[in-house]
Amino acid sequence: MPGLGASFGRGAATTFQRDLSNSDCILIMGSNMAEAHPVGFRWVLKARERGAKLIHVDPRFTRTSAMADVFTAIRAGSDLAFLGAVIHYILEHELYFHEYVLDYTNASTIINESYIDAEEQEGLFSGFDVKSGRYASEPGSWGYSASTEDPGQAETDATLSHPRCVFQILKRHFARYTPEAAAEICGCTASDIVRVAELLARNSGREHTSAIVYAVGWTQHSTGVQMIRAAGIIQLLLGNIGRPGGGIMAMRGHCSIQGSTDLPTLYDLLPSYLPHPNVAPEHATLRDYIENGRGFATSHNADSSGSWQDEAVAGYWSNLPAFIVSLLKAWYGDAARPENEFGYQWIPKNDGDHSQLVTFHRMYEGEVRGLFLIGQNPAAGAPNAALNRRALANLDWLVVRDWFEHESASFWYADPAVDDPKQIKTEVFFLPAASIPEKSGTFTNTDRLIQWHEKAIDPPGDCRSDLWFIYHLGLRLKELYRDSTLTRDDPIKFLTWEYGFDRPEMLPDGRITRISDEPDSAKVLKEINGRRISDGTLLKSFTECADDGSTACGAWTYSGVFPDEDNNRARSRDSTIVGSTTYPNWGYSWPANRRVMYNRASADPDGRPWSERKKLIWWDATAKKWTGNDVPDFEADKPPSYVPAAGATGMDAIAGNKPFIMHADGAGHLFAPYGIKDGPLPTHYEPRESVVSNSLHQTQTNPTLRVSEADINQLAEETDPEFPVVATTYRLTEHYLSGPMSRFNSWLNELQPEMFVELGPELAAERGIEHRGWMIVTTKRAEIEARAMVTRRIRPLMVHGRVVHQIGLPIHWGYAGETVGSIANDLTPMLMGLNVSMHEAKTFTCNVRTGRLRSKPARAIPVAQRPDSGPVPETPGFAQPEGRLDRAGLQRKK
């Protein structure tokens, strides 16, 4: 999540969901929170009940819009124009929080003379290399201008009037994003934008705070990272970060997806946001890695200069040596020694992009032989799902672990496009997985909250936890390479891998588990938490991590979650509230159990709360420490008046009035000198498939965009008259993702039984499409059929003087399951943004017509008979609930 990381320092939601109830105004954009996160939405409603204004900006009127005070419909993919206009309006009318902006952001910092803004170059920032399609050629032009007095410090202008200071650059950059110009792009009215800007601004400041909520409705765009950056700029300008009821709430799309970013399933990160080493000379040895580390990995170019270098010197990332050495000690144990760089060379170096979409493209090209699919369903859930299915068919072997035999496991026979399963060469192994109550472990959800869940029962039959599978796979690999003398096998030989239970695992009912070889997930969490090598005691906090090999820590951000052998803080369930909404002893929130990150900003530069109403932490002058209702995200005894000496390094270089301690300058980044690969400031580009041309500059789409050039990944050119309709994809409350967990459950299937397309009555009338009838959606890539849901919740928009129709497609159906239907992702294109290789399923162009496709439809698999449980024990037959009657031979019909 570089959008948040580049703005504030850490790539995670800055606050927690319950804190939304403290907000005075909540903007939900790029999220359908009421439908996708209905449980967390209660806090939004709580805020509304307390008088907060609720705003929803979305292409469709959804169940979230139904709850909002303000709903504005915009064209899918025009979010940056909208947000840019909000920023423009805030700057134009001086609605920003002046003190906050001056002290807590880099507004006053002066940028290098060589920097050229996208506004001066038709949408391209300085440093763009046309050949590679990346920002690479010009050295560090996005960086800070070094001070003449102290070359280690950046030049600043506290009057904010220097033409090259961030504040002035920001003003110039967004000068053309007037509400009127943006309204033309978005298809709303200028007053729609003014309304949102006014509500946000009026509900921010000393006495008030506003929050912004987003989800994959922002991230799944070619400019997704920049949309989040724009939200960061708004929240920094309005002074809403680090304060109760403020912040940016990144609603995550999957269970524990925050956890799988923290302990990443990402190819370019090691646990806790340490960069994965590259083949570049900057990462050649552990010493190089420590010197260049994170800054290098997040820099937009591989150049030798730039502000990214400061991270190794000042701010919290100066602790990188302690974190990487402790990680290596956790992984390789005694084998990790100073003389072998603690095993640094055993980590394979990254030689390019190995993200999901790139890997599947390579698979499609036949370059990948085998694949483990654990809890994922790309055959229906990934962009251009048809391409993904063809890619799976190019594998030699495929291992799928899941609850049900979903599309990716059954593609070789159940995909209607497959005529003869014998033609598919892939050997598919389907391994049944245990479900959540059948295993213990943690979830780390949206709020960075690590929550333990207990195993309640043994999984049935051969179902096993994913941890069991990985553990035993590791054991077998270690056995395989035990006697190897090859150096390349050392990473497996020396890997620490002792997770078995010390004594038989007990179930809650007192019985001993049937699965005797299940590993102990608490041992894994302890390894993540970290230990002191000398005496084996668990670390109390990541501040104890050392760079000399005396500590082992699997993920520094999580350190403190397991401080004593029998104190698993993720298990703690004390719901006592401190202050207004913080519940410090429910689970464990990384880092260091902080609930609101950057909360130093909840106090003014002198350490006093901005207001009584919005106080969170403050400086206690008598006790000489930070105190309050949350764990301070600041050195506890650093006074607000602290000024670093010249040449100070590490945390000593962070002044007492700088809340964003992860950044070398301690400031929130309005302008991102590094960390973002497609520009230091958000710029509106049209989606790759768009019905209009970019009216702001000649660069139509994000210039760093990469597109899969597979023959079945054709893209419509801009304003292609064959594809005049804007399409977006979305989720319903009733189903989950592509349906591998929900379309096998009759109680959910009956609530949303069939694939449909939402469209407005105007478009339906134009094309002769009837409500509830069949319709066909065509893109440059595929055609699918679905039922038509004609509704006024979808409105035609006026974009650049012409009417633009939008349609919405739920992503939940496929050819496996109890209910089946067309796969919306067969329509979406496979293309990737440069920052996080994210696709653009949230907007593409299509055409619609009435009718059905000729191809043979998928067959439903009656897999689940609900209710499937037996009679209630010790209860007479007449008192059994109806569903548990013997229904043999009885046919039910509606």
Partner: protein, 296 residues
């Protein structure tokens, strides 16, 4: 003695359980987000089968109606003006003098009403009165409870309910409906639907407390400018009793699939008796006329 006791057993009645605090549901539709968690929680707890997979196209409502196998049902009503009927543009003035209230007033061009429907657990329940077997009773929580093992499947309750709550199951032929989670209440647990509701739209508790809370809620909403908020089933009407499961609505009851003015079926009994009497007199007259004609 043994035989006599066995023979008399069916006629024995143990003492009914002592009444406990009367309970009910208050469903606040202003908080309903239409997530249907109540429907799923109800089906799961009560182990009710799915009703089949039918796409109705009726907004997001694919459940249709309450029935013997669906005891919670979320209704959806889309209310949007046609697109060409948009309000005119306000002119933009700089911040400060901007009339934010005017801007806010035009912020929502339509609404999407959602409501979780359920058995009303009427204070005077026509179903209970109509039931000839005693299967329908008022239990110790003052909830209307259907003992499906005693039900003989006559269907009188189906006809008696003015809300269309009860139907007979095609699986076993008995009538079934919401038990207000009688089993959970006896174990001091709240009903599954209320437990699952993420936003507090479905509130369970002492009916007296709920009524008080609901009236306060309406006042609050009024003060906030939601002037169309009102309670449905909170007070008795001329034709019907209060409801043990009552609702806060924002529009005409019919928009939520509720009868605007529910009536006790007994109200039509007088006319029925009259019609029966008139019919009888006419029949007797005809018979007499025939007899007399033949006698002549």
């Amino acid at each position: 003695m043994g035989i006599l006791s066995d023979l008399l057993y069916p006629f024995r009645r143990p003492a009914p359980p002592a009444p406990r605090t009367a309970t009910g549901f208050f469903t606040d539709t202003t908080l309903c987000i239409g997530c249907k968690a109540c429907e799923v929680a109800c089906k799961q707890w009560n182990q009710l089968p799915s009703d089949g997979f039918t796409f109705t196209g009726d907004s997001y409502d694919n459940t249709g109606t309450l029935s013997a196998t669906t005891w919670r049902h979320v209704t959806f009503a889309e209310q949007f003006p046609s697109s060409d009927a948009q309000p005119p543009e306000p002119s933009i003035t700089p911040s400060g003098s901007l009339d934010i209230q005017a801007l806010l007033a035009q912020a929502q061009s339509g609404r999407w009403l959602m409501m979780s429907d359920v058995c009303k657990h009427c204070s005077t329940a026509p179903c209970e009165i109509a039931c000839p077997t005693g299967a329908l009773i008022v239990n110790e929580f003052a909830n209307v409870y259907l003992q499906n093992d005693i039900c003989n499947g006559c269907g009188y309750c189906v006809a008696a309910c003015p809300f269309g709550v009860i139907t007979r199951s095609e699986i076993d032929g008995h009538a079934h409906k919401c038990t207000l989670c009688f089993d959970r209440q006896r174990d001091d647990m709240i009903p599954a639907c209320a437990k699952a509701c993420p936003t507090g739209s479905i509130q369970f508790g002492s009916i007296e407390e709920l009524r008080e809370r609901a009236r306060k809620r309406v006042e609050e909403l009024m003060a906030r400018g939601v002037t169309d908020a009102y309670l449905y089933g909170d007070a008795p009407s001329a034709s019907y009793s209060t409801l043990g499961a009552f609702f806060l609505l924002l529009d005409d009851p019919s928009r939520y699939g509720l009868p605007g003015n529910p009536a006790r079926p007994q109200l039509s009994l007088a006319a029925d008796w009259l019609r029966t009497a008139v019919g009888a007199i006419i029949s007797v007259a005809i018979v007499l006329a025939v007899l007399l004609t033949h006698a002549v």
